[in-house]
Amino acid sequence: MVRGLSFDILPGECFGLLGPNGAGKTTTLKILLGLVTATSGDVRIGESSIPHDARTVRQRIGVMPQMDNLDPDFTVEENLRVYGRYFGLAAAVLAQRIPVLLELVGLMNKAHSRIGELSGGMKRRLTLARALINDPDILVLDEPTTGLDPQARHVIWAGLRRLTQQGKTLVLTTHFMEEAERLCDHLVIIDHGKIIAEGSPRALIADQIEPRVSEIDGEQTAEWVRHYAAQCCDRFEVSDETLYCYHRDSTAIKIALQDYPGLRHVERTANLEDVFIKLTGRELRDN
């Protein structure tokens, strides 16, 4: 369920749609692609309107779905060729494009492998290549790196950055804040189907949250919080035995910590994850 979502995506930007599980990210993408019809409101892509022109619009969109749905009966190359035919691409165009895409995602020597022989990261890369088969202007990525190890994630990120440099518009959902912070120019955070914040990663951090965070943990956290948190932190949260203290200056904290050698203290710059947690809370979203 999403309600009253309204945002603009500029050509050539990387637009990130953030939100906890069940916030409505995938539904929003499906509305965007014309796969689900909204009960009210409209989607316009250039001159076209969704869902009326969905077929023509999807001709210029590439989609990387959240779940891999590669064809297990086909090889890597066949997956790309068969998918390209759905766009009406001629055999000659595909023969020329497929090696280029395999090169881009580093699967040149896997062209004839079956899907079952690929690792999770390779499958994701192949799904990315498949999304590019029609040389789309717009790339829609639904949690492109979920379930990947850090190496594989960095490979996907590098690929996506190259695509933005080529001028493609990226629309991505993620719940990795690091991913959003690294890739996106423009973010929208949604929760319970509504927009709760919008802006560039840097602007969101500057506007929504104190610049520094001290994470303090140890057995005496609760006691320290009782005595000092209110006066040393601009804002704070306690989760288990960890205190998250948001502030502009840590001098008072360091002094107050002197009598508590058992407490561990890490001070860092506030990041997008802090913004996200502030806006959407710490509770688990399992639905």
Partner: protein
């Protein structure tokens, strides 16, 4: 959510999806052909010779000839049903192939049409294989007339693909298809004259069977094998066309509701 009752939009865009199914099939063609065809042929030969030796001629032909026409319809029906139910469900629900296709410039109607035509293609293949066995054994009474069973096989395929797609749209899992086979397909096989003339059943059941598509399929195919021109051809074709059209429409309404919500 309200149902979308609009008629499916038929477009040639389904062809690349059909080609996909064909490519997958080609990789597994030999076990698939064996699995689909060996079974009906063995039954036909076993019952045809075994039971047939105890029986007088039926309508002037041997039991094996009589049964071969029933088998052609029966295996044609089964090919389409198994394809759109088990393989179709796997493509829709398990492998999520349909989801992938929907992200390309394809509509759900294209996917359903591809399933329908592909199921019918499998039926055509089954029909041809049984016809080949009929020819090899010399069971047909007029070779040229027996060729007309080929378009009938295609029509049977379209009919039962359409019906199967309705089940596919409402099925939560593979087990659900057992209801369809037990409650729809098996009674149809027993009522519509596959193994024995349908007119041997109680009148009430005959009247019921007269509505079923398999009855009309068999009423067309059997004379074609026995060297006769079927009577009331238009009625039989119309019956199957209505079943095809109505079930395909219903399938598209139900599938839209299932997937596009």
């Amino acid at each position: 959510m309200a149902y979308d009752f609009s008629l499916p939009v038929l477009s040639l865009r389904f062809i690349p999806i059909w080609r996909r199914h064909f490519l997958v099939w080609r990789k597994l063609a030999i076990p698939s052909i064996l699995g689909n065809l060996a079974d009906p042929v063995f039954y036909m030969l076993g019952f045809g010779y075994g039971l047939g030796s105890l029986m007088p001629h039926i309508g002037g032909v041997s039991y094996l000839t009589f049964l071969s026409a029933g088998t052609l319809c029966y295996s044609t029906m089964n090919s389409a049903s198994f394809e759109v139910l088990y393989s179709g469900f796997s493509r829709m629900h398990v492998q999520k192939t349909w989801d992938a296709i929907l992200n390309a410039p394809m509509m759900l109607d294209d996917i359903l049409l591809a399933e329908l035509v592909w199921g019918a293609s499998k039926s055509l293949l089954s029909g041809l294989a049984i016809l080949l066995v009929i020819w090899v054994l010399g069971l047909e009474h007029d070779w040229a007339l027996s060729l007309w069973t080929i378009p009938v096989a295609l029509l049977i395929g379209i009919t039962f693909s359409g019906m199967g797609l309705v089940m596919n749209a409402v099925s939560p899992n593979y087990d659900f298809f057992l209801y369809y086979f037990t409650l729809v397909i098996t009674p149809m096989v027993l009522l519509c004259g596959v193994f024995y003339p349908a007119d041997r059943m109680p009148v009430l059941l005959q009247e019921f069977a007269a509505w079923l598509p398999l009855t009309h399929a068999i009423t067309l195919v059997r004379p074609l094998i026995m060297g006769e021109i079927p009577s009331r051809i238009a009625l039989h074709i119309t019956n199957m066309l209505i079943w095809s059209g109505a079930s395909f429409w219903l399938a598209s309404i139900l599938t839209r509701r299932r997937l596009l919500k």
